[in-house]
Amino acid sequence: MQSLEEIGVGQTASIADVPGADAVSLRLLEMGLTPGVRVAVVGRAPLGDPVELEVRGYRLSIRRREAALVTVTT
């Protein structure tokens, strides 16, 4: 299983899970990163972090550390 952090710019993946029980994981679920949803990594900030995602038709910025909390399948 891959984490969202490993997905390169321009690639898409399908969210497998956000298994954590911490505040950040819950916020990610609330923002719509729920199992089964397609997510595209649209870009990355010039300094390498954070990443820009497209999910459920909108753009979301999360840090790589946060992306690591999301497991995906490609």
């Binding site: 950040v24 819950l26 679920l29 923002m31 900030a45 010039p46 459920r56 038709g57 550390r65």
Partner: protein, 657 residues
């Protein structure tokens, strides 16, 4: 719903929604200028209430902070829940809730909507940004959405004047109607995996419910190519172009608060001088005149003079926020600030603080995360503001030898000047890092941030932000700053000086004597043992104390204390006079010169790091809603300033500079 007087009491309507959905735009369209702005008791969450009248019915519109969820994890969310449930002191339970839903981003917006529906309040959905959705080939069928949600759904596009009055009708009608049934989540909840924490289960179940609705109500037309918003976004977050645009925008922002504001500030100073001259001409010399001119008028001028910078900065911020660039700026800069325990959102407040910490600290309002906001406010005054520049310039010019550093064109005074700016930045980074690992330690703060689609800002909303920022500064911080300047005037004026009999005194000498004999002057003498290790004589200590109202007065105070009278250190002549006098100054009763390179450096380092600015402390107090933070800021900055000045003076003396 009638009050004892027979008149119907106003309906209470709460406005909730995700950030960036056009909620402020809708508030302004419905209610105009807010009738009440303040803070909810005990928290620094803004309370904003507006009133409108519809078919003879008064409606109080309560704007709630923009939130993604009602899980009550942050103070903003807690306030939203408390108001909606009627648990907030001073706010009656709402008769109706308006949920603002972004049509171009329906699924995520329905998440909050489903939570509001659960509360069992009569609810109306305002479906905004339909024009942006259409541009992206998305249409939302409002009627079927209304059927699925069980509550009215009114499409509203404020910029085109669509839907506002229908929304008013609907709100007044809904308040009298039965609340909608809560969303049928039970089936989805039962499906969810019991191993998960309840909040996660709840979120997944809500999205399952939402997916069912979205499939029914969203129509997508085939579109070819990228939308305008995506094309703009591709440039704005591009490695090279994005960085370039960012640098240009920030340069424009910075130069405008640094330079564009100065004509207005000069005008204000000139106006205040004019009024002061009037008062001086019409009142006899005496304590009353001195109080009015040097206390009250100087204080009022010292407050009003900040308004142009605040207004300009908030104009910029409101425009950037309105078009969706503010979060992109934070996205671009985040990495740089994360190392210091801050976030990308701290960038604009800190950058603005190089012009002046006051608008900078106010700009920290755009940081939703409380911890990041507080940290940013605490370190913002370490950025070298424009009031420190004259101090640096004068001392660098007068006491730093004009030697070459490595290259013939690189002069030492310029290097020292840059070093002073760098010192502030480095210390700020270290302080933020230290605090974020100690006092503010906690679980990692999420930086989960929407990058909203590109759109045109609404003039009415932009102007309202500017007006609100300027007004809240004048009303809250302004009165406090004024009070402080009157107190400081008194400390610098009383007790009246006793001039030794028989001596002939010039006016400048008399003024110098008056300051030296005042409470402030005495305090300066009293703290001499404290400032001696910095290489300062008591006059310098006194000048540093007297500069508490505002750093920029330190040069003027030095002029007074060295018997120059009121010189303007800013102009050529005044500057040279002051430098000549400083160079000639000796320790009391000796021939030993006070000023040397180490002393000049020690003064500069002290001013780079100290919190000698009453207005900044007042604004910190107001923005954090607590007296603790200005005290903490003053204490830590003064300690650092003293230590820094001590270190550089001792080092310089030991090395024989």
């Amino acid at each position: 719903m009638t009050e004892p007087g027979g008149r119907e009491r106003p309906l209470i309507v709460a406005l909730v929604g995700n950030p960036n959905t056009g909620k402020s735009t809708l508030f302004t369209a419905l209610a105009g200028i807010p009738t009440r702005i303040g803070n909810y008791p005990g928290v620094t969450v803004e309370e904003k209430v507006g009133r409108f009248s519809h078919h003879g019915r008064d409606v109080d519109l309560v704007d709630l902070p923009g939130t993604y969820s009602l899980r009550a994890q942050s103070p903003d969310e807690q306030v939203a829940v408390d108001v909606l449930c009627g648990r907030m002191r001073g706010v009656p339970k709402p008769d109706c809730a308006i949920v603002v839903v972004d049509a171009s981003n329906l699924a995520r917006n329905l998440f909050l909507t489903s939570q509001v529906l659960d509360l069992g309040l009569p609810t109306v959905v305002a479906l905004t940004l339909g024009d942006l959705a259409a541009e992206r080939g998305i249409t939302v069928d409002a009627d079927s959405l209304a059927r699925r949600l069980g509550c009215p759904v009114i499409p509203v596009v404020v910029p085109q004047g669509v839907g506002v009055s229908t929304l008013r009708d609907s709100v007044v009608g809904a308040a009298a109607a039965l609340p909608p049934p809560p969303p049928a989540l039970a089936a989805h909840l039962a499906d969810a995996d019991a191993e998960r924490p309840p909040a996660a289960r709840d979120a997944i179940a809500r999205y399952a419910w939402i997916d069912g609705i979205a499939a029914d109500v969203i129509r997508r037309s085939d579109r070819t190519g990228r939308s305008r918003s995506e094309a703009i976004d591709a440039i704005l977050t591009h490695r090279v172009w994005g960085t370039l645009v960012f640098a240009m925008v920030m340069l424009a922002l910075f130069t405008s608060i640094f330079r564009l504001a100065s004509p207005a500030m000069d005008l204000i100073s000139a106006g205040m001088d004019g009024v002061a001259a009037q008062v001086e001409a019409s009142l006899p010399e005496g304590p009353l005149r001195s109080l009015l001119v040097d206390g009250v008028l100087a204080g009022v001028g010292g407050v009003v003079v900040f308004v142009p910078q605040i207004a300009l900065l908030f104009l910029f911020i409101a425009i950037l926020e309105g078009c969706g660039y503010l979060s992109r700026a934070a996205f671009l800069m985040d990495r740089l600030l994360v190392g210091a325990g801050l976030s990308g959102k701290s960038f604009i407040p800190l950058l603005s603080s190089f012009a002046c910490a006051i608008p900078g600290i106010m700009a920290a309002r755009t940081i939703e995360n409380r911890r990041d906001r507080l940290l940013t406010i605490l370190v913002a005054p370490l950025m070298s503001c424009s009031a420190r520049l004259p101090v640096y310039l004068l001392l660098c010019g007068a006491f730093v030898p004009d030697a070459a550093v490595v290259f013939p064109w690189l002069r030492l005074p310029a290097v020292v000047l840059v070093a002073m700016y760098a010192l502030g930045v480095i210390v700020a980074a270290a302080v933020a890092f230290g605090l974020s690992r100690t006092v503010f330690r906690g679980p990692p703060q999420p930086f989960v941030m929407e990058l909203p689609g590109w759109r045109w800002p609404q003039a009415a909303v932009v102007l309202e932000r500017v007006r609100e920022a300027a007004w809240s500064f004048l009303k809250n911080a302004g009165t406090l700053i004024l009070a402080m300047s009157i107190v400081l005037w008194a400390l610098g004026t009383y007790p009246r000086p006793v001039l030794p009999a028989g001596g002939e005194f010039t006016e400048a000498e008399a003024r110098g004597e008056a300051l030296r004999q005042s409470f402030l002057g005495r305090a300066g003498r009293a703290i001499e043992p404290l400032v001696k290790p910095l290489g300062w004589d008591w006059r310098l200590g006194c000048a540093a104390l007297a500069s508490f109202p505002a750093r920029e007065v330190v040069l003027g105070t030095l002029g007074v204390i060295y018997n120059l009278g009121d010189v303007d250190p800013g102009d050529e002549e005044g500057g040279t006079m002051l430098v000549r006098r400083l160079k000639a100054a000796t320790w009391d009763g000796t021939e030993r010169k006070v000023f040397s390179l180490p002393v000049a450096l020690s003064i500069m380092v002290f001013f780079a790091l100290c919190a000698q600015c009453a207005s900044t402390l007042a604004v910190i107090g107001r923005e954090t809603g607590s007296w603790v933070w200005p005290v903490v800021t003053f204490a830590y900055m003064t300690s650092l300033a003293w230590l820094g000045a001590f270190a550089i003076y001792q080092l310089g003396t030991a090395l024989g500079w």
